[in-house]
Symmetry: C2
Subunit: 380 residues, 2 copies
């Protein structure tokens, strides 16, 4: 399912070995635009460029390259981003300010603009209704393409993305593109995007490192004529963003499983869940299928959020089984072998109740040899 | 060199396989005592017990076990700690309130007090001037014993410690014991200990996880008759603590090298240095001997501390060579092969200048397959 009025392309121009590395999304009419951007002080020129572009509220296209993040590349890097937008605009018959730019890949290397120039020209010639070539073109260390779709009364919300480390500057970054033929004003799209990101991408961590190039862009071109209610729009945006966030966690560098960390109670359950989700000791225990609940509690205890450890109730849920591990200040009577077997699943929930209150869910993955291999052995 | 008036013991009682697991330090007279303790909300009963014991200002002995952290073990765990102090006091002819207790090892398992009872009795019989058996008895995943010595006008400051993950609850925790025959009042010892810890153990990270059982204890028995000046005491304490912190980082789980992260400038250089030192991407790059400076800058940029990336100057220093990697907002003209070769050293300095101001130094290690192996494959 693809929203009306959008076309996609993905081609190979040689920034990466043997894989597609230039992508285009084009709307046949001006689309309401909204974006969220990395908070890292050290960020790529394309992030600043696209933040400015979104301020125009309407966009027609986005051009993306993988294989080079074009970050920490000074004034030349900034000029190259503008040039990419100019080239895309030229080949698509648009104005430069109607084009957004996103980049992902190695930090600190100048991008080969001769290749990019050729790639954009080729991409502009190969536009089609099929988003798959685009999805391939934005990948770095990702093993699989990632997309999610929601339907709103016959209109379509399509999200495509990439990401495998929250940042692995020489190879992986989170990028997300949400395109829809719903008819939405830019300001309302911005609200919906921010709401959706708050409980999806901002509740996602692979390795605690924040990217220099993170960017999620939403485009709504109205081609379906459907005007969604706030509830419909928020629901569809949330659905595709949470799905994409889970796909990124599951495909985290070296990951063998998706882990959902659910924390209930305290003044800041998300901070506790994030600390657990980022703990190398929790993540390596999950990789080893070890129900080492002491590591979960120890991580919670250092999150900087007040709670009484004696009231904590900790469970793991996996393959439909619930294993109570800790309650009333002392170990519960669980079967370590059965709990360890349950952790062999590719989906595990860590559920920590610290009192009455709201529940925060954070998505992450385990931490194994593959992460070290990917990030230590492939040199810049 | 061992301070006068102290004796040591280390024996095996069976909490761990084939290795010593019960240690004693005993002073022949009341010693001024000071301590610093983990800030983790989830902490072992021995931490609370020893914090109370130190309030009495004078101690005669400390009993330590490895192989079991006795944490998250509720009221029974708390009773077992008191019992350990009582047993040590009984065999040494002391009052219970003159004995401190420290524990390290797996979280969430009740300690086998029959073994401990036997071990303490044996340890009390084997006291000697040699600290080595004690140093062995407190190890968990550590590969080497750790100690440092300073001389103050013929008096001795001896620090012994263990630690290999900041926390790896089923096997490793940071413990430190500083014993001296200097004549120091408890309040002054407390000041010197806090000062020394601030720039040593509190500037140390292996894996960002804070232990449930961390504890550093200082005992000064005055047996040398030497009364140090403030400068002498602070200098000697700092010297042994920094040495021990570096030894812990170098022996971090799976580590192949000691990394010193030095950050100059900004309102909080230590926060920036800690974020770099805890970045899995920086640590895996160091393991792979990859001068991937983009990861260092990206980590600095997410530390929550304001700076202008264009003014950053980043170097690595290793084997007497300095390699300038980034300056003036763009990559420097360095030789990647030479920089990579330099990183093969077992000691590397990452030096990041972000403007005028103070320099903070944080000690850490790289992050490789060994960390995953130690923390994923050995089940609780």
């Amino acid at each position: 399912m693809v929203p009306n009025g959008f076309q996609f392309a993905g081609v190979r121009c040689g920034l990466k070995n043997k894989r597609k590395d230039i992508g285009l999304i084009v709307s046949d009419r001006p689309a309401a635009a909204a974006g969220v951007f990395t908070q890292n002080l050290v960020r790529a020129a394309s992030v600043d460029f696209t933040r400015e572009a979104v301020k125009g509220q309407r966009l027609r296209a986005v051009v993306v390259n993988s294989g080079n993040a074009n970050c920490c590349t000074g004034e030349q890097g900034a000029r190259d981003v503008v040039r990419m937008a100019e080239l895309a605009a030229h080949h698509l018959g648009l104005a430069t300010q109607e084009v957004a730019v996103a980049q992902t890949g190695v930090i600190g290397q100048f991008i080969d603009m001769a290749k990019v120039e050729h790639g954009i020209a080729e991409a502009a010639k190969s536009l089609s209704d099929d988003p798959k070539p685009f999805m391939e073109a934005i990948l770095t260390t990702d093993l699989v393409e990632k997309s999610a779709v929601a339907d709103v009364r016959g209109a379509t919300v399509l999200a495509v993305g990439k990401g495998s480390g929250m940042v692995a500057p020489d190879m992986a970054t989170m990028l997300g593109f949400i395109v829809t033929d719903l008819n939405v004003q830019p300001a309302r799209l911005d609200v919906a995007l921010r709401k959706a990101v708050a409980t999806s991408f901002n509740c996602l961590t692979v390795d605690s490192d924040t990217s220099t190039n993170d960017l999620v862009l939403a485009l709504a071109n109205g081609a379906s004529g459907v005007e969604p209610t706030d509830e419909e729009l928020d629901g569809a945006m949330r659905e595709v963003c949470v799905s994409l966030a889970k796909q990124v966690a599951r495909d985290g560098e070296g990951a063998t499983k998706l882990i959902e960390v659910r924390v209930t109670g305290t003044s800041d359950p998300k901070a506790v869940a994030m600390t657990i989700a980022n703990s190398p000791l929790v993540k390596t225990a999950m990789f080893g299928c070890d129900p080492n609940w002491g590591r979960v509690l120890a991580a919670a205890g250092r999150a900087g959020v007040a709670f009484d450890p004696d009231t904590a109730v900790l469970k793991v849920v996996s393959q439909g089984e619930e294993h109570l591990l800790f309650e009333g200040g002392a170990p519960a009577a669980y079967d370590p072998k059965r709990a360890s077997t349950a952790l062999k699943s590719t989906e595990v929930v860590i559920d920590l109740a610290l009192g009455p209150g709201e529940t925060a869910t954070v998505y992450t993955c385990d931490f194994g040899y593959g992460y070290v291999r990917i990030n230590a052995e492939y040199h810049t």
